[in-house]
């Protein structure tokens, strides 16, 4: 109960509180503190889980997501303290919008935690929708032409996606209706899963199509991805980190829940082929898009699409190793990509631009930022000694013997995307110094914390963690 209060109640209360506080330092502290409390609360779930209820459910699958969510939320709040301070100084944000920012930040965390923890598919939908709304607000916070365009695009595409997801949710309820009967039971995970084998498989298939496209929009799967790069590029960098590190995961989580449902219903189509197809399309297209990017944040946003493609592919291939790999890849991607965005945020602040043409030789002018960026890109490319190597190893090696051709395509995508990222990295991190060289007050702790975790995971995965992931993977079928 305490944990629930910490994870859900604290952010909500903080959001309310922060909307009245104008002082930058104070609100930054409250923001960090609230995020920390919810992170600590989420850790409590590890030792004690509340009993599944009508509203909330904590099980082996979502606990991974919840802890990750709260952790990245916490580190991002630390990062955003310094980042937003700089934005205030440089006049890009006004104190009024600052109040709005912090309140929205906590609200966003609340919505995402709620979506993860909800036991009811309707409640989850509502939470995802609210999360979308709050992030839309954040994306448009700079009020520049580009920011508003990005927010608007995000909003429209997100709304359509959300609407489709709702239609899918209604269809799931309809499928459950003859078996479970009327009432709230028909939307409860536990009840749905228990009776899934009796559902009408054809109806579940149809529902899954809508859910896949609906939540897939929020995951950023091609061809519904268009909002994602612009939203990442035009919003404040902490929000980019949260979008890539958390929001995509939340949508993915929702999709996975429904996948479990389908897996439990023997007559339903295997969701694998659809997920594989969308995953491959995302990986390949995003990899190609990387080549022509000029904006650094947009670059890494496309990289998120690519990674999401890999993850969805992996869950689509499934099998105990495939699911495990997917979970691991998702966790590692969250940590790595947010670390990259932290670095990128500072870089963009110091250079006064997000255009990569105006950055160069970072390892020389800003060794800390430069090398962490190098490490981040190395990690995101799935190279050792980082954790994404482990997960990509599992993804590729486990799926190749099952679907050789498809895996070959995936590998092609990996190679293409790495080629593009490395091409940029070579110019940004190395080469002659370009752009501003003023020193930066970087909040390096979050970057290092994330990279250290990813590094540790590459070298050594704690057996309990893996056992837990394996159990979660076995739930996924």
């Amino acid at each position: 109960m305490i944990a629930l209060a910490a994870v859900l109640g604290v952010p909500l209360a903080a959001a309310f509180l922060l909307s009245f506080i104008a002082g930058y330092r104070l609100s930054a502290r409250i923001n960090g503190l609230a995020s920390f409390v919810s992170f600590a609360g989420s850790l409590l779930f590890l030792v004690h889980r509340p009993a599944p209820g009508a509203l909330f459910l904590v099980d082996d699958l979502n606990i991974v997501f919840i802890v990750l969510n709260c952790f990245v939320g916490f580190t991002t709040s630390l990062f955003s303290a310094g980042y937003i301070g700089h934005e205030l100084e440089s006049g890009k944000l006004t104190p009024a919008s600052l109040r709005f920012y912090y309140a929205m930040y906590q609200l966003m965390l609340f919505c995402m935690s709620l979506a993860l923890i909800a036991a009811n598919i309707g409640l989850m939908w509502v939470a995802v929708e609210l999360a979308t709304l709050s992030t839309v607000m954040m994306v448009g916070i700079y009020r520049t032409h580009e920011a508003i365009e990005a927010a608007w695009k995000y909003f429209i595409l997100g709304s359509v996606g959300i609407a489709l997801a709702l239609f899918g949710t209604i269809l799931v309820y309809l499928a459950a209706h003859p078996v479970i009967g009327e009432g709230a039971q028909g939307m409860l995970w536990t009840a749905l899963l228990a009776h899934a084998w009796k559902f009408d498989p054809a109806l579940l298939d149809t529902a899954f199509v809508f859910l896949l496209l609906g939540y897939g929009t929020k995951i950023g799967l091609v061809p519904m991805h268009a909002w994602l790069p612009d939203a990442h590029a035009e919003g404040p960098t902490p929000i980019s980190a949260v979008l890539s590190g958390l929001l995509l995961n939340v949508a993915l989580y929702a999709l996975l829940r429904f996948k479990i449902l389908l897996a439990a219903c023997p007559g339903a189509i295997a969701p694998g082929p659809l997920m594989i197809a969308l995953g491959l399309a995302s990986t390949l297209l995003a990899a190609l898009m990387l080549y022509r990017r000029r904006d650094i944040k947009r670059l890494f946003a496309y990289s998120s699409i690519e990674q999401m493609g890999i993850i969805v592919f992996s869950f689509g291939v499934a099998g105990p190793l495939g699911n495990l790999a997917g979970l691991l890849q998702m966790t590692m991607h969250s940590l790595t990509k947010s670390a990259i965005f932290f670095s990128v945020g500072h870089v963009a602040q110091v250079k006064g631009t997000q255009r990569m043409a105006e950055m160069g030789g970072l390892t020389e002018s800003h060794p800390l930022l430069g090398w962490t960026l190098v490490a981040g890109v190395i990690a995101i490319a799935g190279l050792p000694p980082f954790g994404l190597f482990t997960s990509e190893f599992l993804v590729v090696s486990s799926s190749f013997s099952r679907a050789p051709l498809l895996t070959a395509i995936l590998v092609l995508g990996l190679l293409l995307s790495f080629g593009a990222l490395l091409l940029r990295l070579g110019k940004i991190a190395f080469g002659p110094v370009r752009g501003e060289t003023a020193p930066v007050r970087a909040s390096s702790a979050p970057i290092f914390a994330h990279l250290a975790l990813v590094l540790t995971a590459g070298l050594w995965l704690p057996p309990p963690l893996v056992a837990w992931f394996r159990h979660a993977a076995s739930l996924l079928g």
Partner: protein, 664 residues
């Protein structure tokens, strides 16, 4: 034993961490690394004939762990790795003094060494690939040491992309071998019996994966870019050792993890090896950057090694030809060792020249034999060894390879009968072109008159660098005159891989090698050396006794028209011109335009030569162009209207619904 070796690796990793924080040139760091590598080399040598040892560390994936295994194959390659590591660290003690930004070298150099050791010891797919990629990464960072240089960045780019290609190909290969259940340990893979089709696919993937790392044509393109860009001790490691680690990986997969592949696979490897050897040396001949020339020679030598490996595969597949297979494999292994020795030596020499003159461009060298006599001497030994001149080591391994080739026509099938002699012709061509190339490399750089002020004022390099070169030169020499001892030391490896070894050579007098039968062929390195020595003494003594002793120094004769200006000398480019004219039109699409002034005019004549890198044009440009085209096409998607994006969603939905409707 294996624990001790891993402790050494751990020391190197600790050095890498220390390198990240230490200030200064890190001489003690190099010294420790050299010492550790030296000890490891001795341990590896000792454990060559020992029984395999295994160890599992609780790292990485909990249900798998990191498996390590020290068997003769890994011990042999560990020896090669550590010899290279010890000598290059020793070299770096002196050479590293000139490093402008040691902070970009010191953390990665020990990491690179450690990764090289780990690859050889790893005994499961995960730890193997982990170390493999780590090796690529560390060397990539070292390639980028001169990071302001546009060329370096390009080299690093091409290098790492190819390295990733190699890693992914190996990953797919291991994925096939491990199966869906994910039995990643090599011991488990050995027991699995994949279907023949899958086994061949795995072999081809392994060939791509290791070939891209070793530098098999056409996957070699990164090598001549990346190797020269790194500091010389690293170039030596990359050329001399890392490519050998790739050879190790191929042997490991093809000979121990897979069932016996069909003969045609061996022929494919042989043919690729032959083509690689010739193209590598031809490209080398066209270079005037000393280190790039050496890098292309690495391609050539990898080709020679793969000829040997391919032959071993062919003989192995034929059945009943274990002795021939053992001969071919021994030849390949011998060449692995040799190449690691003399290529490191040559890169050290090139590094010393680079530091002394400030350039790697041979056209700015000349006359260094007077300024850097010791370096010149060691470099000459290296040149002679790599040109396969008796009595040095390079000749022995090429001779052995040739003996293996001569056994090929004895096979009943027609494929080997035809392809193997052709490979022999290619090998012979490569060997003679290599000699030509090293006449050029040594002659233009060290002989003649200085072509630049820097060359004229060069100074001899430091004693650490010299001792590193000296040790390697002595090793080249010893391996050349005592080949039998070396072959006997390799016996456990080929026994482990093939179940047979080359017949022991130790009972023969003078350390003679007799690969098959005395009546067939034999070579006696030490006797040849003694003969040459004796005859030379005889000639010198005879000349002393019979000839006048007077020596007079005078200007060069030059047919009576000596020109003191150094530009009248032959350059690297003009030296290679005859060979370019012979092979150029086919291989390089070379075109020369000569502009002669009209008769009587005093204007200088001009010649312009354009070379095409045909391999790059055939294999890489189309890929790059295709990616660019696709990226341009895809890029339109960034600039559509919201309505269009909505249309995509709409279309996806309608399509999926259609699919659902059709499904029922």
């Amino acid at each position: 034993m294996i624990l001790v070796l891993l402790a050494g690796t751990a020391v190197l990793l600790a050095l890498a961490l220390a390198g990240a924080v230490v200030k200064g040139q890190g001489r003690s760091l190099y010294a420790i690394a050299s010492f550790v590598a030296f000890l490891s080399a001795i341990l590896a040598l000792v454990s060559l004939p020992a029984r395999p040892e295994t160890l599992v560390l609780p790292l990485g994936l909990p249900w798998l762990g990191w498996h390590f295994r020290l068997d003769p194959l890994s011990a042999f390659f560990l020896l090669v790795v550590d010899l290279g590591a010890a000598s290059s660290s020793l070299f770096a003690i002196g050479y590293g003094r000139h490093e402008a930004e040691p902070g970009r070298v010191l953390p990665f150099f020990p990491l690179f060494l450690a990764a090289l050791q780990l690859v050889v010891l790893a005994a499961d797919a995960f730890s193997f690939l982990f170390s493999w990629e780590l090796m690529s990464l560390a060397s990539w960072a070292l390639v980028l040491v001169q990071h302001r240089d546009r060329e370096s960045i390009r080299a690093g780019y091409v290098y790492l992309v190819m390295a990733l290609l190699s890693g992914l190909a190996l990953l797919l290969c291991f994925g096939l071998l491990a199966g869906a259940s994910g039995s990643y340990a090599f011991s488990a893979m050995r027991l699995a019996h994949p279907a023949p089709g899958l086994a061949v696919l795995a072999l081809l993937l392994a060939l791509i994966g290791t070939g891209a790392k070793a530098g098999l044509v056409p996957l070699h393109a990164w090598l001549p870019l990346a190797h020269p860009a790194a500091p010389s001790q690293v170039s030596a490691l990359m050329s001399g050792v890392m490519t050998k680690v790739a050879v190790y990986a191929f042997l490991r997969i093809a000979f121990t993890l897979l069932p016996i592949p069909p003969a045609w696979a061996g022929l494919l490897v042989t043919a690729l090896g032959g083509i690689t050897a010739v193209l590598g040396v031809l490209y080398a001949l066209m270079q005037h950057d000393l280190k790039r020339l050496l890098a292309y020679h690495t391609v050539e030598n990898i080709g020679i090694i793969f000829i040997g490996i391919g032959l071993a595969m062919v003989f192995r597949a034929a059945g009943g030809e274990e002795a021939a297979a053992a001969l071919a494999l021994t030849a390949a292994l011998f060449h692995v060792l040799n190449h690691s020795l003399f290529k490191s030596l040559l890169f050290f020499g090139a590094g010393a020249v680079d530091r002394a003159t400030g350039t790697r461009d041979m056209e700015r060298g000349g006359g260094l034999i007077h300024r850097m006599p010791q370096t010149a001497f060691f470099f000459l030994i290296g040149c002679a060894a790599i040109s396969a001149l008796p009595p040095l080591n390079g000749f022995v391994s090429e001779w052995l390879t040739f003996q293996a080739i001569l056994l090929g026509p004895g096979l009943p099938a027609w494929g080997p009968k035809i392809i193997i002699p052709v490979a022999g012709a290619l090998l012979a061509l490569a060997a003679s072109l290599a000699a030509a190339c090293f006449v050029k490399a040594f002659g233009i750089t060290f002989l003649g008159r200085p072509r630049s002020r820097e060359a004229a004022e060069a100074a001899e390099t430091d004693r650490f660098s010299l001792s590193a070169m000296g040790i390697l030169a002595v090793l080249c020499f010893l391996a050349g005159i005592f080949p039998a001892a070396v072959i006997n030391a390799f016996a456990p490896v080929s026994r482990a891989l093939l179940g047979a070894a080359m017949p022991g050579q130790s009972h023969l007098p003078w350390g003679t090698i007799i690969p098959v039968a005395a009546a067939r062929s034999s070579y006696d390195g030490s006797a040849i050396f003694l003969l040459i020595l004796a005859v030379t003494v005889l000639a010198v003594a005879g000349a002393r006794r019979l000839a006048a002793h007077a020596v007079r120094r005078a200007p060069a004769w030059d047919c009576g028209f000596p020109d003191p200006r150094p530009v009248t000398q032959y350059t690297a480019t003009s030296f290679a011109e005859p060979i370019r004219r012979v092979f150029g039109p086919i291989i390089f699409g070379a075109a020369s335009i000569v502009r002669m002034p009209p008769p009587g005019a005093t204007a200088p004549a001009e010649i312009e030569t354009a070379l095409h890198d045909r391999l790059w044009e055939i294999f890489y440009d189309p890929v790059a162009a295709a990616v660019a085209r696709l990226a341009d096409a895809a890029n339109h998607l960034q600039f559509l209207t919201i309505r269009r994006y909505l249309f995509f969603v709409f279309a996806a939905l309608v399509m999926l619904l259609f699919a659902l409707a059709l499904q029922r």
